[in-house]
């Protein structure tokens, strides 16, 4: 049911862990749904210098988190904000329909961490990120979350 690319990222996840001196942290999902992603960022000069993740969830949740960190590492904030769930699915060469919500979660985790970065800088993230990225309390949450 999973592509080789998904299995490869599940077996050898990239960028696992937490950045000690992170300046942007995002946690999305909830235990009731069975998946939680936490992304920590180190942003310097508008560039994602480092990124790490921790994920509780299924194979697809781990793989989407892993590939999402690869897609944003070394990129500018605006490039990172342009990483959509679709881009995550494409990078994994596809996901089963029931697992698309995992890619949505990965996109939300990135946005949530960047929003947190802006808040720490005293900047309102809403106009830049597009939402406040408080995904746990968002009424428009995607895919049944």
């Amino acid at each position: 049911m999973y592509t080789d690319k998904v299995m490869e990222h599940f077996s050898n996840p990239r960028n696992v862990g937490e950045i000690e001196d992170a300046n942007g942290v995002g946690t999305v999902g909830n235990p009731k749904c069975g998946d939680i992603m936490k992304i920590t960022l180190r942003i310097e000069d508008e560039i994602v210098k480092d990124v790490k993740f921790k994920t509780y969830g299924c194979g697809a949740a781990v793989a989407t988190s892993s590939i999402a960190t690869e897609l944003i590492k070394g990129r500018t904030i605006s490039e990172a904000l342009n990483v959509t769930n679709k881009a995550v699915v494409e990078a994994l060469e596809g996901l089963p329909p029931a697992k698309i919500h995992c890619s949505v979660l990965a996109e939300e985790a990135i946005k949530s961490a960047i929003a947190d970065y802006y808040r720490r800088q005293g900047i309102d993230p809403l106009p830049i990120v597009g939402c406040d990225a408080d995904c746990a309390n968002c009424g428009q949450a995607a895919a049944g979350h």
């Binding site: 077996s11 909830n30 235990p31 069975g34 921790k54 994920t55 509780y56 299924c58 949740a61 029931a98």
Partner: protein, 401 residues
Amino acid sequence: MHIYADYAATAPLRREALEAMTPWLTDGYGNASSIYRVAREAKRALEDARRSAAASLGVLPEEVYFTSGGTESDNWALKGALELGARQGDEPRERRRHLVTTAIEHPAILQTAQWLERQGMDLTILPVDEAGLVSPERAAAAVGGDTQLVSVMHANNEIGTIQPIEDIFRAVKAKNPQTLCHTDAVQSAGHIPVPWEGADLMSLSAHKMGGPKGIGALVVRRGVRLPAFMHGGGHERGRRSGTENVAGAAGFAAALATGAAEMEREAARLSALRDRLIAALLRIPYSRLTGHPVRRLPGSVSVVFECVEGESLVLGLDMNGVSASSGSACSSGSLDPSHVLLAIGLPHEIAHGSVRFTLGGDISETAVDRIADITARVVAERRAMSPVWDEKAQRPIPFGT
């Protein structure tokens, strides 16, 4: 080394079954319903298989109807019984349109029951206790004058709990002697004795006991006028049409006979291995057993681990050569974890961390110890990358703190 520990999903074909099947897959190709020699030989083999299966089960040969498997048998039992009840008597008030079943049945029962409800039948779904047991008193209390069928599985596929079906069916019949009783014995038959005495209908599947896939049976108690399910050429005494699967029936009968002959010894051996594995797995912190501690299938081990998601655990086990399964949402293709784990009262977040090992075949003590070691390692790996697990303190982090 690969360790297969998913015998509740399917079992490899027994050598005895393969040997019994081979002649009917090669030279004995005749259609058992034709009249010439190769057909007569096939017919004889089919009836030999029926007699042998009946003897292994302790039922009459004419009570055994071969089907394509457990799902068909369950569909036939429920739809047939309710069709019978709905046209009972001359007066509408004599009709019996009520079906009673339980919250932990296989989807072949639950989905069929819900379909019948959509067709206008009345449905009652009985709850279970935290060990997965159905109370005979509660079952009887749900039965009324219009109850046509009570369907209770003998042993559960996910948590292994064995129901006291003899007590349940006795209580049901005491309340309404007209009510029919059905048991889905797919997981138990061939492994433990099925107390069939109180039942009118029983579903069986060959491949769960080392027979081939694609064949099973519905046992219909003599005198129960269950309507035909598959209409056509009138096979299986007019009740289940379709060219007979002679090789399948021969393999099924051989698997049942071998299962019956080895039952006592195998049940004791697998129960000991099961308890050894449960004890080892429960040494992993923040784990718990699901299902009944004693009234459970010999090879069935089902546990939940906090802060680990079941599907990722199953994939991790697979990477280490162990085949197991999970009742987590992600393995079912929905966002909800298994209906069985929810029915025994587990919260969603705990139910997501389920893993099931079902033992069988020639699995050894060494293999079981290896399963435990690998599981401990994979659980630790998954927890180390879980945002809800405190790696330093080795305990869960309450979510939202």
